[in-house]
């Protein structure tokens, strides 16, 4: 058919973006976070990330071979999934964690439904939820200390700690051995406050001191740069914002979801974030948006094309939903961090949101 002209349906010109370009650009945008992770925790974080990414690719290739469909691992989506999954893992986790997570994410989260574009929920988040449900203790303990700081990101930890060790060993363990969100969650727990000291007033007072300390400017700086304990890819808000800026510039992600997500968290934590005895503080919402996986979730996971709503209004509803759930889980839930579960939950709701936010055709009255 060499001598024949090509005939196809209009349009005959095409934008240059394609799937693999999108995926690899997201991978590129995620690398600054990895660089920070390597700086804080050493080469181990790189190894875990690569283990996750490579096993995701291998799993996808194997399943596609088995299903006798074209192997499409070049498009980068499996690599991205594996990478995002590893980003959600504690850098001190055993080496098989990212592998198990990636295999589950790709096999159950994606290939069961026929591969790219068909998955009902974000596979990386599903992988993380799977790991958390399967090995809860391994996933939530054994955090690595950043090279230049401490786990909770408290600015003057030494000053507070020396005081605490004698006062309440439980509180001491907390500020030296937990991630910032865990600290805040524990401080919100009245039973913990009561246990600090028989004298409840003193407990509240102490809790308040730690609370204000962890949400003050100097500690926030640690959070912003990532100088705290946490999962591989989520700690450095700065690095993630850098990548997000690139994606926004490249028009790969849209501003609605991150803005409304982070905005909702900001407003709600300002209103409901303070603990008993602490007043409203402009610092507290910043603490919440820089800590945990919010930046990673809002820019890189909630914006996942496949699992977010199609319409602009739908995306706003979706993002607000994510924000509300994140705050609910952080403030009253059983987990210190709610980003991944809230996005997962809203992923499940996406088809319904799509259904009820279907756009009105231009010029159509209702």
């Amino acid at each position: 058919m060499k001598d024949k002209y090509i005939v196809s349906s209009a349009p005959h010109v095409h934008d240059k973006t394609n799937v693999s370009m999108v995926m690899w650009n997201v991978v590129l945008a995620l690398t600054p976070a990895l660089a920070f992770a390597v700086y804080f925790w050493g080469i181990r974080s790189l190894t875990l990330t690569l283990l996750g990414a490579v096993s995701a690719v291998v799993t996808e290739a194997l399943i596609q071979k088995m299903r006798k469909v074209p192997v499409t691992v070049n498009d980068g989506s499996a690599f991205l999934t594996g990478m995002l999954l590893s980003y959600n893992i504690n850098p001190g986790a055993p080496w098989w964690m990212p592998i198990m997570g990636s295999v589950f994410a790709i096999a159950v989260g994606k290939q069961v439904f026929g591969g790219l574009g068909n998955n009902p929920v974000n596979p990386a988040l599903l992988g993380r939820a799977f790991l958390l449900a399967s090995w809860p203790s391994l996933m939530t303990s054994g955090w690595l200390k950043p090279k230049t700081g401490n786990l909770s990101g408290l600015n003057d930890l030494d000053a507070i700690a020396s005081n605490l060790q004698s006062l309440s060993p439980k509180a001491y363990d907390l500020v030296t051995g937990a991630t910032p969100l865990k600290v805040v969650q524990t401080l919100r727990d009245s039973s913990f406050v009561a246990s600090i000291n028989a004298d409840a007033g003193e407990g509240i007072d102490l809790a308040n001191r730690i609370f204000t300390n962890i949400t003050e400017m100097a500690s926030l700086k640690n959070l912003f740069w990532g100088n705290v304990g946490g999962c591989i890819g989520e700690v450095s808000a700065f690095a993630l914002l850098l990548g997000a800026a690139y994606l926004l510039y490249k028009n790969i992600i849209e501003w609605r979801i991150p803005l409304f997500y982070i905005g909702t968290v900001f407003v709600l934590t300002f209103l409901f974030g303070p603990i008993q005895g602490s007043g409203y503080s402009m610092m507290l919402p910043f603490f919440h948006i820089f800590s945990g996986g919010l930046m990673l979730g809002a820019f890189f996971m909630a914006t996942d094309y496949t699992t977010s709503p199609l319409t602009k209004n739908g995306r706003i509803i979706y993002a607000i939903g994510c924000g509300v759930l994140t705050v609910v889980i952080r403030l009253v839930g059983g987990y210190p961090e709610g980003v991944s579960y809230s996005i997962l939950f809203m992923n499940v709701m996406t088809p319904l949101i799509d259904k009820f936010s279907a756009p009105k055709a231009f010029g159509r009255m209702k």
Binding site: V108, V112, F130, A133, S134, W135, P136, L138
Partner: protein, 196 residues
């Protein structure tokens, strides 16, 4: 059809869970351990056989209009018997199966067999059908439970089978694990069917 073929069809060919896809609730809820699965399977088998016998006996005297309510009452009676005797003799099992013993009443398998088989066949064949279906149910339940118990607890019928370094995958004991395990087993059945 002969007694034997009525007996065996429920085990593989018309397996109530994998092929006919009925009775999902107890399958998922009671397959956390093999012992639970066996207990549930036996209880359901008992009810199935008894109700099959009874219904095939009374099929000619039941008016068509009220046959379903009658069947439900018959089944409920047998379920109550199982419930009470289990509470008396196997209190531990009764406790862990909990709500799902009385819920055998609404297990689609039992009513379905009553309608589809016992209502149209004689007592002997109905017994065979009941035993076969019951065994098929028990078998399928045990398969699911085996996977879940081994992966989620490292044991089989409370005997340790996995090496001590094995970190049990807790999720298989939880609700999501139950759904996903059964989902994959069904997909496997589909694949085998397709190959044929």
């Amino acid at each position: 059809m002969s007694f034997i073929s009525e007996l065996t069809k429920g085990i593989i060919k018309e397996n109530p869970i994998f092929v006919i896809v009925l009775g999902m609730c107890p399958t998922l809820a009671t397959s956390t351990s093999v012992s639970n699965a066996l207990g549930m399977g036996m209880a359901a088998t008992f009810v199935l056989v008894c109700s099959n016998i009874f219904i095939s006996l009374i099929k000619n005297v039941t008016p068509d209009k009220i046959r379903i309510p009658v069947y439900v009452v018959v089944i409920a009676a047998f379920v109550s018997i199982v419930d009470m005797s289990m509470a008396a003799y196997l209190p531990a099992l009764h406790k862990s199966l909990g709500l799902f013993i009385p819920l055998i009443v609404v297990n689609c398998i039992i009513l379905g067999r009553a309608e589809a088989f016992a209502n149209k066949n004689n007592v002997i064949n109905s017994i065979a059908d009941g035993i076969g279906m019951g065994l098929g149910f028990t078998l399928a339940l045990t398969v699911v439970a085996t996977i879940r118990e081994v992966l989620g607890n490292g044991t089989w019928l409370n005997i340790k089978v996995m090496p001590s370094t094995y970190d049990p995958m807790l999720i298989t004991l939880l609700a999501p694990g139950a759904f996903i395990t059964l989902g994959f087993l069904m997909a496997l059945m589909n694949m085998i069917k397709e190959k044929k």
